[in-house]
């Protein structure tokens, strides 16, 4: 500490005065538990010094939640690591981080250890790698207790560990104490991480993207646990995320970060309802909504964040801002208070200064629609939109497709001890110009379904018909080639899908060469494709690693479109992209579907994206479709309890709605497909089943509900001039049943 004071020169005197005042008891407990002032972090890299965090200020009061939102590379995680003192020693950190008035920056690693885990605790992003695999879960919780409470008896520690596991909702905690991390699912491990974090009643809990690696239903569970943990300990929470929905319901204050600097801070309502910085407005407009049929295009934010190796002159967002003027580039705007005209300045949750934004035009941005300032493209209209569904021809048809994996045991002689039914009797079709999405938790068989379609081999159980060619008939190479031309795929990870040794030209030429196009035609087609997906034609000579993630995905889309397919299979096309980039790619997909009359088969776990882009949706659970139908019909009026739970698990970027809405929190995880129950697959987790009387439960356990449209609904649909085929189908005996009260959560 003294070292630091001598180094910092003139300010040292001031700082010491402040410190003395605080030490003398001037520090009131009602003040912020954690206050960060002018935090700057610099890293050295091969190319120069990266200024990763450039002046972060915030105060955090006990029991309050601060949400830090931003894209990857905006400095969110670095900020949290700097607070925890976990950055490498090579990083240059300046500014001040005070915990209850005590300076944390500059403390030695050993001194910092006293605070870490007891005063300030952290929950990390990846639950799979944050627990040590060789120790039991109990051992790891007790370790956290031992470090900070050396005097505690081992019996007390064990009792506390059981209490903690109970608190985070792990069933039979006494027995689970002896389990190893690999015996827990991802969601359970994240619960254990939370238990370890709150073991010593921390005053500050930092959660760095705690649910990003988890499924939506599990995410809802974990967010619930975090909420409970905060209520239990009264800790202040810093929630770091890129998902505006996740923080909407939890946070009191929001800080939006861009290029290492907070660009807008304020109470959650201010940020969501009255954003005053173009970047925040863009971010909010870029997120599709799951709770309403939204037929306007998303707001794309063009370009990429600035490189922080170069000093930032002017507004860091200027290059991507549609409202940029020369004034913006003159100097970097300060984070200044904005006057929320009309609306009463809500100071309910805000720590200090109310609503502040770093934009010279923030005064003029009240009640301005993000769609108009960001020039969101008009909604594209496809030539198929007017044609009734049954008059369009089918481009893909699946009839009772199955994929069962044998489960073998034994080293020398393999015995079959069971079957994993990854895909179990799938039938659906896709018509021209429509997009069908398959949704479900990981492990439900979505990706296996895609692979079965793409493999297209004759030994397939069930029939796959693509553009009139059945896989049973496709024995020779020529038919297969013809079918391949009809269907192309876009992969989830745009980096892995492009050969790092190919230039963009080579990547795009590959499918064309394969079909024997002449060289001139290939060159012409590639230039067309580059224009089609919005890339500069002179970028064809670059290698994939010279592009950003969004651009790479555009190349992947261009490759898929090269041979003019009728159907494009999209495997999580935007899940690897940042929100602002994602919007651009979604708009592109929408536009291409309309212009080229494409059909999409999409697999996605993000239901808001699904709602935005698809016409029809199929919900899968353990290898079976449990509900299928028109996307608005299914999302607005879900009949199957699983669909209801899935939809209610999605956080909505609307704080008021998010705080008051009812949520179904499913209990437990997806069961392994190995011990799939005899009757309804979903019975083990079903909220309706749990509320049913015994007699009715028997039906669920013994009979398998078929996928069918409800009789009355089908009749009504026919009467209304619609074809029954289009009606919503679901596989449940008791749709719209009462939901078990235990699984319903409403926040006060």
């Amino acid at each position: 500490m003294s070292e630091l004071s001598t180094q910092t020169g003139p300010t040292a005197v001031e700082r010491q005065t402040v410190e003395r005042l605080r030490d003398a008891g001037m520090y009131a407990p009602g003040d912020a538990v954690l206050s960060v002032r002018d935090l700057n972090v610099r890293f050295n890299s091969e190319n120069g010094v990266v200024h990763a965090v450039r002046g972060v200020d915030f105060d955090l009061k006990a029991g309050k939640t601060l949400g830090i939102v931003g894209e990857s590379g905006s400095g969110k995680s670095v900020t949290s690591m700097a607070i925890m003192g976990l950055l490498p020693e090579t990083a240059d950190i300046t500014g001040s981080v005070r915990f209850k008035g005590q300076e944390l920056l500059g403390l030695s690693d050993k001194a910092m250890c006293k605070h870490r885990g007891s005063d300030i605790a952290m929950v990390f992003q990846d639950p799979l790698s944050s627990l040590t695999p060789v120790y039991t879960v109990g051992h790891q919780i007790i370790e956290a207790l031992t470090v900070h409470n050396p005097g505690m008896s081992s019996r007390a520690k064990e009792a506390r560990a059981i209490e903690l596991l109970q608190m985070v909702g792990i069933p039979s905690p006494q027995a689970r104490l002896k389990s190893f991390p690999h015996e827990f699912s991802g969601g359970m491990r994240q619960r254990v991480m939370i238990a370890i974090a709150i073991a010593n009643d921390p005053r500050v809990l930092i959660a760095d993207e705690p649910t990003t690696a988890l499924d939506v239903t599990i995410q809802a569970q974990v967010l619930e646990v975090l909420h409970a943990a905060q209520e239990e300990t009264g800790a202040a929470v810093v929630m770091i995320t890129h998902d505006l929905g996740v923080v909407a319901g939890m946070a009191d204050d929001i800080m939006v970060m861009y290029a290492g600097k907070p660009v807008e801070t304020g109470a959650v309502e201010d940020i969501y309802y009255r954003p005053r910085m173009p970047y925040t407005m863009g971010l909010l407009g870029a997120v599709p909504r799951v709770d309403s049929a939204q037929k306007s295009s998303l707001v794309p934010i063009e370009g990429t964040p600035p490189n922080l190796i170069k000093p930032v002159t002017g507004c860091s967002f200027a290059d991507r801002c549609p409202l940029v003027t020369d004034e913006c580039r003159a100097a970097e705007p300060e984070l200044l208070s904005v006057v929320d005209g009309g609306a009463p300045a809500s100071t309910a949750g805000s720590g200090d200064g109310g609503h502040r934004a770093a934009c010279i035009k923030s005064g003029a941005l009240l009640d301005v629609d993000a769609h108009s300032i960001f020039h969101a493209p008009p909604v594209p209209v496809s030539k198929f939109d007017g044609v009734p569904r049954d008059e369009r021809s089918a481009v893909l048809e699946l009839k009772d497709v199955k994929k069962h994996f044998p489960l073998l045991k034994g080293s020398l002689f393999k015995r079959r001890i069971g079957t994993v039914k990854a895909v179990d009797g799938l039938s659906f079709d896709i018509r021209e110009g429509e997009c069908l999405s398959i949704v479900g938790e990981s492990g439900c068989g979505k990706t296996t379904t895609l692979l079965e379609i793409m493999e297209f081999h004759p030994e397939q159980v069930g029939e796959v018909v693509i553009g009139g060619v059945s896989n049973k008939a496709a024995t020779d190479g020529k038919t297969k080639q013809a079918m391949r031309k009809e269907m192309q795929m876009v992969f989830q990870d745009p980096t892995g899908a492009l050969d790092p040794r190919f230039t963009v030209y080579e990547v795009l030429a590959e499918p064309l060469e394969n079909l024997g196009y002449p060289k001139d035609a290939i060159r012409k087609r590639i230039m067309e494709l580059m224009k089609l997906v919005g890339l500069q034609p002179d970028h064809v000579n670059r290698f994939p690693n010279q592009f950003s993630g969004g651009q790479r995905q555009r190349i992947g889309i261009a490759r898929a479109l090269a041979v003019n397919p009728k159907l494009v299979v999209l495997d999580e096309p935007v899940s690897a992209l940042d929100v602002s980039v994602q919007a651009g790619v979604i708009n592109l997909l929408d536009q291409l579907r309309a212009e080229l009359g494409l059909s999409y088969l999409m697999v996605a776990h993000d239901l808001s994206v699904v709602r935005h882009i698809s016409n029809r949706v199929a919900v899968m659970y353990l290898g079976k479709i449990v509900e299928m139908g028109d996307v608005d019909q299914v999302f607005d009026n879900p009949r199957h309890p699983y669909t209801r739970a899935l939809l209610s698990a999605i956080p909505v970027p609307d704080p008021e709605l998010e705080r008051t809405r009812e949520r179904i929190i499913l209990q437990g995880d997806l069961p392994t497909p190995l011990d799939a129950p005899k009757g309804c697959n979903f019975a083990t987790r079903c909220p309706v089943f749990a509320a049913l009387p015994k007699a009715k439960q028997e039906k669920c356990l013994t009979l398998e509900p078929p996928l069918a449209a409800e009789a009355s609904a089908a009749e009504g649909a026919t009467a209304g001039g619609r074809v029954p085929e289009e009606a919503q189908q679901f596989a449940c005996f008791f749709p719209d049943g009462e939901i078990d009260a235990d699984m319903l959560v409403v926040h006060a």
Partner: protein, 322 residues
Amino acid sequence: MTNLTDTVVEIDEAKAADVVIGKGRIIFRRFMRNKTAVTGLAVFLALFAFSLFGGFLTSWDKDTIDPLNIGMGPSPEHLLGTSQAGIDLLALVVEGTRVSILIGLIVGGLSVLISAIYGCTMAFFGGKVDSVMLFILEALIMMPAILVVAVATSGGGQSLKELPSWLLLTAVLLFFSWMGTARLVRSLAMSLMQRDYVKAAKYMGVPSMTIVRRHLVPNIGSLLVLDFTRGITGAILAEVAFSYIGIGIKLPDVSLGVLIGGATGQVSSFPWMFWVPLTVMFLLTGSLAMMNDGLRDAFDPSSTSIGRARTTKTLNAKKKNK
């Protein structure tokens, strides 16, 4: 493929601001940036030239005995001195270096080729083919190489005896040198088969052999190039070792190993006979080891020399501007 890109480069160069550099030139540049590697290459090329044209430095050849200078140290007549039998050492070293490099190049090159084909085949076909080929591979790995070399070079049948001993040794070394790399190639190719870009090509309907040629081999390429230079070193060292213990190359054939082995007994009385071939061997293997690092930097797209490469490039450009 490269032709295609080249035409585009020409067309676009007019309007495109960024000049695109050919892949070969990038690799060459990156290699040249590593000074150690360039030194290694220079030393290796010098030794190669020495082994081919070194004979012109002396009027003596390796079969002629100089009865006036038996076991003499370096002198103007014999630049490196003579052996106990009165044969010019320079002529012997030139011959030995040539044989050693020849063995190295043949064994290093062919073993890489064999292992690439064997490994890729295993990975690509998988299943039964993979298990059978893997079994053969494991069996070969477990076979004691030194015994086979000893039997083949000394106790073998009459037909084997008629072959020049260096060719025989090359064949045996080749037989035992490719298995490790083949296993490595197999595992690498297997992981590449799972990459999305290979899947993408498959789903495009690209024929299997084209996928192997265009996606698998180039991505294994940097490993193969590295293994080529490593293989040369390994073969030279193995030759020296076998010849040293007397089961490798037999007189009258000469190699570096034979020379070193023959001189160990009299290091104190004929030091030049021992140190000269040893130095040549060290230069040979040392230069190859120095080259390896530079080759890795040049071929591996994920190596950090990309970042550094750009800055050096701009720095050079700046220097030129000044």
